[in-house]
Symmetry: D2
Subunit: 306 residues, 4 copies
């Protein structure tokens, strides 16, 4: 018999006709930053969760999936990343994963919303794990695109860790061909990038497929990686792009060896076998990518449901 | 801004503290069979859906994922399956996929609940696509375990397509070591089986890992295959077991070649590349399987949340 | 401990931030008429319910409250009503209550939506109880306002039994000063009218108070009657207006005597004591009426949340 | 079109099959006291709300209805109440209303849950309005029944302001014949009492009718008063009992005169006309009371849904 023990629920609307619901055990923070509505809540299934504009961003229980898939394939595809740039990165878990890499000596994280970073630092210590205070870390609170436009320093890896492109928000200009071209210009010769690209659910593939095709306008190597993050309520996908090295060619053995040499601590999601899982897509996703003709541009953006 | 346009919602509780919600456009059928509550509804995101005891079983939009992953790896792992047995199979889509295989000349489907089969036949034609009336099809409405106990005929492939083991239902005796041993006895020398094994979400892996370990008590080759079915609200997993052939050794090329030769029509989810995706698990799932010590037995069953 | 046993729920949104939810046991009908979305569902608490455009209209369990309060005060305020006109009336329960009055020899019900009437006739027999086939009944399916404009016959009582005035619907022109003037013209000398006027919840009194003030532009005697209908989720109010007789002057004894003489069968909500309850409003409702300055007119309508 | 703008909802389950939902704007407090789960939340429709064990207790927007109906009829039925005892009273609004009465020179409030009182004092100043610090106020945090058993001082009015009798809580022993007898013993000659008695919704009248009949075992004058509190989601009722004076005999004029003389400040719900509304019940409620045969006793308690 189905039973609901909770009287407070967070409804994460995925479309106007579908959502994932979470029993709320405790609300740690609820407020409005200069850019978005922000909540930190403890849910029954997923522990401490960060919710922005009514959308689940990260949960204590499964954020390791999101952040390991976002960070490690891009980092290991580069032979020895020293300088890393994080676009966004809010709660600090992307930074935490980047700093595990022993080759890194500098990581700049540029997030437009300082309040999200400050509140996460205080209330979500299990996410950043002290990464904000690592001596290799540099933080800036401004528009990452403008920052990259105004500074011509180059990076080995650029991780784009931002919300989905919604109509009201500024994030949609971080999903365009022009932006990816700017990213290309700020990458060193073997530079790589990674980003979350939306759901892989059939019938809802617009964002992932258009991002894939748009990246292919700029980068020679682009893969979409399917990774399920349970708290998101729908299967998810990540894009990985590279100037020179092909991620499909990395064997499980090569990945495992690099992890042993270059990454501190124990990973939970990613290893050689997981890499092979990520490098192969279901047929319907590949077909949808092939058939996609939309290229996202500054003056022809796409928006996802909010 | 999040908006809900629907006034009627189906809440699929995944745990007492989590669920997936579906806006209901139309209820085609709602009743109580001798064994379970049954509903056929049209939802906003997933079209016609079969819901048993308040749990989503199949949706028009993504049932192809469930049924292709359940059927084709097991069928292609056998060199030339002629006789197939389906345990359960309700709405007829598993039967439909089995019958695509040109080698098959007889498929027996034994489902305990005739009303589910009859209502699906009438209201869900897109699921069975006429398979119930194929001349190779034989239907029986009885307890599949008893049927196998009382008949000693052998099959090349046995597909177990049943609900999760809930406390009130009879299905839990189809998840035990004793049942898998009976299945082994009813398989030919290169026989294979497949079943859905529950979610792969971390923290909710009890069922999948215990099924995996229990199967290993009987079969030399067992793999768990991760496949996201969006309408289920959580990532899902399937188990594949075999008497003789190792599914991990099948290359993408071999799979694609066999599909071209042996399967009628166009598959949407499964092909060689999808097979490689299915054959590799995230690290945390493998670790949970390794650490699992529970063997499911008739007098020590496990139950999932209902 | 709070528990929800249902997996299907009807959410009756009362505002964008508040609603009443009903577990659905069975959906008897779900469709779209020429004018509105119509559903007949069986809910756990309220039995068979009529839902139009996502709003609860009537429930099997408490429709007697709605229909007795709507009909009997207006009927008994007239000394001997023979001819009655029902504006709207959909499911037939208003007609049923009117026909209990032994003085009535003709009742014309004019509803714009024939499908609602026909489906209710078939699926909600406990609502109309055969009233559609009473020999005193006349049905017409057209716009009631136009009907009254085009026919100059007079009636003793006019019951207005319609949905709330929502922006998309035609009902809002049945809430204006011009319409109430037309109604006045079609009433005999001691004529009375009644209608539902929306919630009496504080902070949500716009509709009830504006209707009250608008009626006072036309009728010398106007009262608002508070009557809770549990399935509506908010406390409710009805307006009663009269050309000549003051309903406040009717004693409990007079009401009881008239019911005994003039009404067939047993009433469940209304009698002399209930009349005294209905004739007295909480202070905050009277104050809100006094302070209301809006007069609803054809070119200055008001709309309620939908 | 129905739209939900909120992503966080409080579901107040009224039965397993029915509830009232509130969009949550802000959670001010969420915790577990020694006796119950306690939350203070800001909802979209009702402002600051106190929720205990998942049930709405009071809302900023309509608590005046609850507290005026609970306090003033009982206070004015006594000719000149000086000493008042409040059983429970948590957030301090009952105390606030008692202290408006100029005749009162001492009010003792005994609530078992000090944390509810302390958190309300801090976070709900609009509820107590400083009443906790009035020099006539005395607070004690202990079981009120035991307090009354151990102290034989008499009071002019005893207001019972407690949660509904749920199985897990201690409140159910404050609803029994034995407790009402104890209350009688602690009242002066013209003493009166009042309490909330549950919903007046038909089909859900067990609590209200049994309380009414149980009070009649002890008191010569008992009335049930119907008063809708919108945030409760169902129509509500209060019981008033008295040793000597009959509340039904108080005219509207007498009430208005007493309010002018004895009550400080402006009331919002209660006055002479509201008194007449409260003194008359719908027929079905009276009939249910008449037909009720249950007397609540310590060893035969009743429980309401939680």
């Amino acid at each position: 018999m189905t039973q609901a023990k909770n009287s407070k629920w967070f409804i994460d609307y995925l479309t106007p006709e579908e959502g994932h619901i979470h029993g709320i055990k405790k609300t740690l923070y609820s407020g409005q930053t200069k850019f978005q509505a922000m909540e930190i809540m403890e849910t029954g299934s997923y522990g401490h969760c960060l919710v922005l504009d009514g959308k689940m961003q990260s949960s204590e229980v499964d954020e390791f999936i999101y952040h390991e898939v976002l960070v490690h394939p891009a980092m290991l595809l580069h032979p020895a990343p020293k300088d890393v740039f994080i676009v966004g990165g809010g709660e600090g878990a992307t930074l935490r994963e980047v700093l595990r890499h022993k080759t890194v000596n500098h990581c700049l994280m540029v997030d437009i919303d300082e309040e999200v970073v400050r509140m996460s630092e205080e209330l979500l210590p299990e996410y950043h794990a002290g990464a904000f205070h690592d001596k290799r870390t540099e933080l800036a609170f401004t528009d990452a695109r403008r920052w990259l436009e105004e500074n011509d320093k180059k990076y080995d890896v650029i991780i784009i860790d931002i919300s989905e492109p919604v109509e009201e928000g500024p994030a949609y200009l971080l999903y365009t061909r022009e932006f990816y071209k700017l990213v290309w210009d700020r990458l060193t010769d073997e530079g790589t990038i990674a980003l979350q690209a939306g759901t892989t659910a059939n019938g809802k593939l617009l964002n992932l497929t258009a991002v894939h095709k748009t990246l292919q306008q700029v980068f020679p190597h682009v893969v979409s990686m399917p990774a399920a993050i349970p708290s998101f309520g729908l299967p998810w996908g990540f894009a990985l792009a590279s100037k020179k090295n092909d991620p499909k060619k990395l064997t499980a053995e090569a990945i495992d060896k690099m992890i042993a040499q270059r990454v501190a601590g124990e990973l939970k999601y990613y290893d050689g076998e997981a890499h092979r899982h990520l490098m192969h897509l279901p047929k319907y996703v590949r077909k949808a990518i092939e058939e996609q003709t939309i290229i996202i541009e500054d003056n022809a953006p796409i928006f996802t449901y909010n």
